[in-house]
């Protein structure tokens, strides 16, 4: 394991309690969590609602104080403002200033992050086009759909070209077409060498996006590892066969048994409902990040 100082995000023994009443009643949102996100990875922080994902992210971003333990970004403690220089954040169910237009919002955050004035306008136009909102940029955010809000949220997160992106439930409440588009954008960011921490409770949607995942439940880490290792069934292979006569299945099984293997099941290969929806609703959309072929 690489030293934590080289890590994009390092969480070390994090425990976070919230006080419920003046009598000292507490709820433990995160319990002894330790994990490391290496640069260049797409890291999935997965788990059901209330598992501690958003709390972990808030502590990493310095929005909340840890009760025990510590967190850092690129080796800088989360308690320091400078830890957030190279970070772009898209919160869960983003709520932006509704009285602003899309362009005004991105420009505001670009200025806050210190994007050079000389290239500010061009950079804002660039990211707005990149997220596909060029035609809606002058409209007020109050007129944006959920998917559009997520995309403008991505724009403000990347406008200052950060090395690390933290996306909290980026596809929650977004339709399959919108989810696919967001997934596509995430993969493009990865191709640029960015590190992405992605939190979601929609496991199927992000399966194809992440290199490595951590699964949280009730504040505790229950599983961590590379996606391929975790989802691949060890000791089994799947063959896709065309034109097989059902009567030959028995012969095929006997042949395999003679060679020390076994035919466990004969099934029809399945596509996904998500794929069917996209093929019929928006056949021109690039293949979903959930498609293995896309990777």
């Amino acid at each position: 394991m690489s030293p934590a100082t080289d890590a994009a995000v390092a969480v070390d023994g994090l425990t976070k309690d919230y006080l419920l009443s003046v009598r000292g009643l507490r709820v433990r949102a995160v319990d002894g969590l330790s994990l490391v996100v290496q640069p260049g990875q797409v890291f999935g922080l997965l788990g059901p609602n209330g598992s501690g994902k958003s709390t972990t992210i808030k502590v990493v971003l310095g929005l909340a104080e840890p009760t025990l333990g510590s967190t850092s970004i690129f080796g800088v403690s989360s308690r320091e403002a400078r830890s957030r220089v190279d970070v772009g954040y898209l919160p869960e169910n983003p709520n932006f200033h509704r009285f602003l237009s899309g362009r005004e919002l991105v420009t505001f955050y670009a200025r806050v992050c210190g994007v050079d004035r000389a290239r500010l306008r061009d950079r804002v136009d660039e990211v707005i086009e990149w997220v596909g909102l060029k035609d809606a940029a002058s409209r007020r955010l109050s007129t944006y759909s959920k998917g559009m809000l997520q995309r403008i949220g991505l724009a403000q997160a990347v406008v200052h070209d950060p090395r690390l992106l933290i996306l909290d439930e980026p596809t929650a409440g977004v339709d399959p077409v919108g989810s696919a588009e967001i997934g596509e954008l995430i993969l493009r960011l990865k191709a640029q060498g960015k590190t992405i921490v992605l939190s979601s409770h929609l496991l199927a949607q992000v399966e194809g996006l992440c290199d490595r995942i951590a699964i949280l439940n009730r504040g505790r880490l229950v599983l961590e590892g590379g996606v391929d290792e975790l989802v691949t069934e060890k000791g089994r292979d799947a063959l896709i066969v065309e034109g097989l006569d059902p009567s030959l299945a028995g012969d095929l099984r006997a042949w395999l048994i003679a060679r020390g293997a076994d035919l466990v099941a004969v099934e029809k290969p399945r596509t996904t409902l998500d794929r069917i929806f996209r093929d019929h609703v928006a056949p021109s959309v690039a293949p979903s990040a959930g498609d293995k072929e896309a990777r």
């Binding site: 808030k58 971003l61 310095g62 929005l63 909340a64 104080e65 970004i73 690129f74 080796g75 800088v76 320091e80 403002a81 400078r82 830890s83 957030r84 220089v85 190279d86 970070v87 954040y89 898209l90 919160p91 983003p94 709520n95 932006f96 200033h97 009285f99 602003l100 505001f108 955050y109 200025r111 806050v112 992050c113 210190g114 949220g153 403000q156 933290i166």
Partner: protein
Amino acid sequence: MSASVRFSPARIAVIAELTVLEAVRQRLFGALLVLAAGMIAGAQLLREFNFGSSELKFITDFGFGAVTLFGTILAVVTAAQLFFAEIENRTALTLLAKPVFRAEFVLGKFAGVAVVLALFVVVTTGALVTVLWMREGALMEVAPEAFERGRLVHYGSVVAFGALQWLKFAAIAALTLVVASFANTNLYSVVISFLIVLICHLQYLAQESWQKLGSGLARGAALLLASVFPNFQMFSVGDRIAAGQPIDPAVLGGSAAYGGLYLAVFLALAIHLFRRREI
């Protein structure tokens, strides 16, 4: 290695700019302006009563009253709304996840509210000065004997009144930020802030009467009240000006210093409390 981040007035200015934009695009500010300007213009109707030169006192009193009352409401409501909305709507999450110091956030919000209050004072005081100038000119022609020594209104003092009221409103806005930085709802912020503002207007009564109270508990409470809350009657300089006297420079200086002190104290407290707040 992350670049260093320094406390930045430029970032404060960006946040302030956003705050002003939000206030301008909200209806409350516009409605208050119209209301206050209408009240001042309504003083013109006093002409029907033929008060003579006393009419100028009434116009000034009503004008000062409008500026003070509506300005106080604007200060509390705008500060609470523009600050708390960020927390309630969670737009503060995205902003504070940037390399922004909590102090910059508080000061940026305050600066935006201060600009809004300054706009309000400039417009309403400007309207009052205009109405007074025009009415005084008309009265000088109709009843010149009352104006033998020239104009009665001290316009410089009227402007000074406006400036001092802005300082008072800024202190009230900062006080509201103190409450908002630990409050759980916008309504709580507004109600508690108004209550505190009312107490601050009556503080001088506690100051003068605590020794005369009977029970030890009442005396202690009154003394605590007098010691902890600021005296907002320090800004009540309008009566003298309305009576045709210029503002005393000692009053202007002392009240301004007093207001400046409490403005700084409230801002520091708001920053301290907000630093400890979990978003």
